[in-house]
């Protein structure tokens, strides 16, 4: 990835000249701000960065970034991003998608981009609702959700984006939330620095059609009890007084209170390299458990784009840069006098 260290960029360099058109109060604003904030830090230049999105409120994102951008069609951003990244490995390619765009119509492309491990940074803004089409339920909406299209409550069990990513063996999986600026920046930076498909679920409030979907996680009073902030190699502790933790009992996690003989040493220690642990963590559901935020999994595997490009380089090294006349004349040829 080419970096442009010539001049140090600032956040402002990544702000485009277009008016931001989200609803006032939308969680998307904060995500935009954090992304613009980390851009100068991760060391790619504006011209070598491309944001690709599908359709949805979230997918308007590229217009607001002063980089190259492509607002494609509903659900298909990972496909276009794959074609771009494979053929242009020098670029830093970001995908912005929503819970509908990425997990409803676009689930298959997301699945394949992740399992192929294409070196893309994929940000899924999960507001558990269809924003742009004005409030139908989405695949991440909770069972029984009453929306415009489900006046009697939705009848389908939701998808858990993290589990889904683990199921297709994604190499980097994380979760963060719109209102936690610092946490978001950290996670986005980790994603940017990961080599391979980096999948980040960003919990995002749609204050118009699904206001308060994550209220328990953002409420100042509650959040230290509801957020489980993961740190690699660290025991899983949470709570206002840092006195609660997650312990393993058999193969099942349980919430314990520290003290009375229970110490940090008894707790589960986070290991970003353990997919089984990641799976277990991703299944933790409120209210019985706090919600894990942070890097669920980070592991190394060869990226698809690198493998494809080395095949081409190998072929060139082996057979030389292709010659059209030779190609035309290959196979059985004969001369008519």
């Amino acid at each position: 990835m080419a970096t442009n260290a010539a001049q140090k960029l600032t956040r402002k360099d990544f702000v485009s000249d277009q008016d931001v058109r989200w609803c006032p109060g939308c969680g998307d604003y904060s995500i935009l701000a954090q992304v613009q904030k980390i851009m100068p830090e991760i060391g790619v230049s504006r011209e070598n960065t491309v944001f690709i999105s599908g359709i949805g409120c979230s997918s308007r994102f590229p217009y607001y970034m002063n980089t190259y951008g492509f607002h494609t069609i509903h659900g298909r951003a990972p496909a276009s991003a794959t074609g771009l990244k494979v053929s242009r490995p020098d670029l830093s390619v970001w995908v912005v998608t929503g819970d509908g765009d990425g997990l409803s119509i676009g689930g298959n492309h997301l699945l394949h981009a992740l399992r192929r491990n294409v070196d893309l940074k994929i940000l899924l803004f999960n507001n558990r609702i269809y924003g742009l089409t004005k409030g139908q339920y989405s695949p991440t909406s909770e069972l029984g959700k009453v929306t415009k299209s489900t006046p009697a409550g939705s009848a389908d069990h939701p998808v858990n984006p993290l589990l889904f990513a683990l199921g297709v063996d994604a190499s980097f999986i994380a979760r963060t939330i719109d209102v936690e600026a610092k946490h978001q920046q950290d996670i986005l930076t980790r994603a940017a620095n990961h080599r391979g498909a980096a999948f980040v679920e960003i919990l995002q409030n749609c204050n118009v059609f699904n206001d308060g979907a994550f209220a328990s996680l953002t409420d100042r009073e509650l959040k230290s009890d509801t957020q489980l902030l993961l740190e690699n190699g660290k025991p899983m502790i949470f709570g206002k007084n840092k006195d609660r933790g997650i312990r393993l009992r058999g193969m099942s996690p349980e919430v314990v209170t520290l003290g009375n003989g229970i110490t940090a040493d008894d707790l589960l220690v986070h290991d970003e390299n353990d997919p089984v642990l990641g799976f277990m963590l991703s299944r933790l559901a409120q209210p019985a458990f706090p919600m894990p935020l942070g890097v669920i999994r980070a592991t190394n595997k060869v990226t698809f784009d690198a493998a494809m490009n080395s095949q081409i380089q190998d072929a060139m090294a082996k057979s030389g840069d292709g010659d059209i006349d030779k190609l035309l004349r290959s196979g059985d040829v004969w001369t008519v006098q």
């Binding site: 970034m65 980089t67 190259y68 069609i73 794959t82 494979v86 394949h112 292709g322 008519v336």
Partner: protein
């Protein structure tokens, strides 16, 4: 030109023929495609003009001996010009009863019928749904029947090698080829050479096949089986270097040549589908030409990835057949409004729906023109012969990058698999493919258009100072920013139409084969080229006023077309569909053209077109 094994009997009489159509038919496992291809090769070396038609079964590997497991290969070879694989058969070689059953209808009365006698046993007859053996019931009396003991003689020829029966059976096709090679005075050296190379790692097979081939040849030479053999003199063929090429390979090479000329990487995003997959296969072996091939999860990702690569500055291609075209439609619309070059290749097959996947049809023209929502006109280009696929593919890329537009390229399952000898062009003779990426930020707007072509600038990400965003929402005429202004939308829709009109400047004057005006004009497009040409030639040789034009550009249509149409009394449009080009011509030029429509998953026979022309000339 060629020498043949020396026989021991006095040479038999040789009858001269201008033209022969032969078909090899047998079980899928009988190697009929190889046999047909080698016979073609021999005929090429004998200096004939040729036309070929492979016909695969739909099943991968149907149970042996079944009707739906029959595979065939037809060769038309001649001392004259050849335009098609031929209509009715002069000769038919069948390896089993099922092959007889499914192919006999095409054999001319008194035609040569060669069959393997041993295969006409009870179980095989039953599988072929024969109540009685056709060898016994007189039903083959109207043909020159040669029941050859192919199986037995092959076994005999190889007995010293002590091969397992299975291996022996695999040589039967070369024995049959040997017989037929003798019969038509074909040189067998090219086949011997081919066997030698193909099986160089397996000398046993190499030897067995060669022995079988020669034994077959000698059978003709040395026995009383055939009273005479046939000779087909070399045709007058333009001098130069030739190669036999299928449409799919030509398509693949055409793309590569254009990308090389442009000096850009080629990116193919595709999903396997019959009959298009071979383009993917071919391109995936050409990595040293800076060719990326991406087998996507589906057709939507195939074109989506290609569009991403186009955004990145590659020559971007996607290939598919009918069912996949539907899935690409939405992204084609996006490509149309972001105005990036992208070739969408549809290798048409019989529809609708899954239809008959291994059979050709021309029924996706209207879909190419109108198969997406909104007003999204695109250039549509069609190939007319296997080798022509090269030039059509090349032209598609040239137009796409010159005008910054997606282009739809149409071929079909017949062109895809059929092959023809191709007088090879040299890369120096190919037209330039000019690409100039914009790098200058001065006065840059993403939708600032070139006056001549109305193309917008192509900017590679990575270019400093030109960062911009594109997307599917309607855009401002100049800045490309989102715009909902009513009159801007109208302006954008119309400029996209005007860009299509501009492309007519790249279409050369229409070539009319025949008089420039007169009684009857035949208009075709795509793979009907050969049949129409052959039919028209027949009338022209009789001095009849019949002309033919064949369209490469279906959108925009050539500027001179309306004028040409107005100069003829009658217009006939033969198509392998229900009249799609016909509809376009009628709407565009208000001419009362009529259609000749065949929709059977098979190319036109020359005779079918001839019959219709005769009727129209008489009316």
């Amino acid at each position: 030109m060629a020498t043949s094994p020396v026989g021991v009997l006095p040479p038999k009489p040789v009858v001269e023929r201008d033209n022969v159509v032969i078909r090899f038919a047998g079980d899928s496992g009988d190697g009929m495609q190889v046999t047909g291809m080698q016979f073609t090769n021999e005929s090429v070396f004998a200096g004939n003009e040729i036309g070929t038609l492979p016909d695969f079964p739909a099943e991968i590997r149907a149970p042996t001996g079944t009707l739906y497991g029959v595979s065939a290969f037809q060769v038309n070879f001649s001392s004259q010009s050849v335009y098609t694989p031929g209509d009715d058969l002069d000769a038919l070689v069948v390896m089993n009863p099922a092959a007889l059953k499914t192919n006999l209808a095409d054999l001319k009365q008194n035609g040569l019928l060669i069959l393997d006698k041993a295969e006409f046993n009870e179980p095989n007859l039953k599988k072929a749904q024969y109540a009685k053996s056709p060898l016994d019931d007189g039903s083959l009396d109207k043909y020159q029947l040669y029941p050859v003991e192919i199986t037995k003689m092959t076994t005999l020829a190889l007995k010293d090698m002590n091969l397992p029966n299975r291996s022996v059976m695999r040589c039967r096709n070369f024995f049959a080829l040997g017989v037929v090679s003798w019969l038509y005075n074909r040189p067998i050296e090219p086949t011997v050479k081919w066997i030698t190379e193909r099986f160089k790692k397996n000398t046993e097979v190499l030897e067995a096949n060669t022995l079988a081939l020669k034994a077959g040849y000698n059978l003709g030479e040395n026995t009383e089986l055939f009273a005479s053999s046939y000779d087909i003199k070399p045709a007058k063929i333009a001098p130069g270097l030739y190669r036999n090429i299928t449409g799919n390979t030509a398509t693949a090479i055409g793309f590569v040549a254009a990308a090389k000329k442009a000096g850009l990487p080629l990116f193919l995003g595709s999903y396997p589908i019959t009959p298009a997959s071979d383009v993917l296969h071919d391109l995936s072996t050409l990595k040293n030409f800076n060719v990326y091939t991406f087998q996507a999860e589906d057709e939507i990702a195939g074109i989506g990835s290609a569009l991403g690569a186009a955004f990145g500055g590659s020559i971007a291609i996607t290939t598919t057949s009918g069912p996949g075209m539907n899935l690409k439609a939405e992204t084609i619309g996006l490509a149309a409004v972001v105005e990036l070059p992208l070739i969408i290749t549809n290798i048409q097959r019989s529809g609708p729906s899954t239809g008959m996947p291994t059979k050709p049809e021309q029924s996706d023209l209207l879909q190419a023109l109108y198969g997406r929502h909104g007003e999204a006109p695109l250039p549509v280009i069609a190939a007319s012969s296997p080798a022509d696929c090269f030039f059509a593919a090349y032209e598609a890329v040239r137009i796409a990058v010159k005008y910054m537009t997606p282009v739809i390229l149409l071929t079909d399952g017949y062109l895809a698999n059929a092959s023809e000898p191709w007088l090879l062009p040299s890369s120096a003779d190919l037209p330039e493919v000019n690409v100039e990426f914009r790098t200058d930020p001065q006065g840059f707007f993403p939708y600032l258009r070139d006056e001549d072509t109305l193309a917008r600038p192509w900017v590679r990400p990575g270019t400093p100072g030109l960062e911009h965003r594109v997307g599917g929402l309607e855009k401002d005429y100049l800045t490309g920013n989102i715009s909902y202004a009513p009159s801007n939308h109208e302006q954008m829709v119309r400029v996209r139409y005007r860009k299509m009109a501009k492309i007519t400047q790249d279409i050369p004057p229409t070539k009319i084969n025949g008089p420039e005006s007169g009684k009857l004009l035949i208009i075709g497009w795509g793979s009907t080229y050969g049949s129409i040409t052959a039919a028209v030639k027949g009338f022209q040789e009789q001095g009849k006023s019949v002309s033919h034009i064949h369209l490469r550009h279906l959108n925009p249509l050539p500027a001179d077309l309306g004028d040409i149409l107005s100069r003829f009394e009658k217009i006939l449009v033969p198509e392998m569909n229900m009249g799609q080009l016909l509809r376009v011509l009628r709407a565009e030029y208000l001419v009362d053209a009529v259609g000749l429509n065949k929709i059977q998953g098979r190319p036109f026979k020359v005779s079918e077109i001839t019959a219709r022309i005769s009727r129209m000339l008489e009316e």
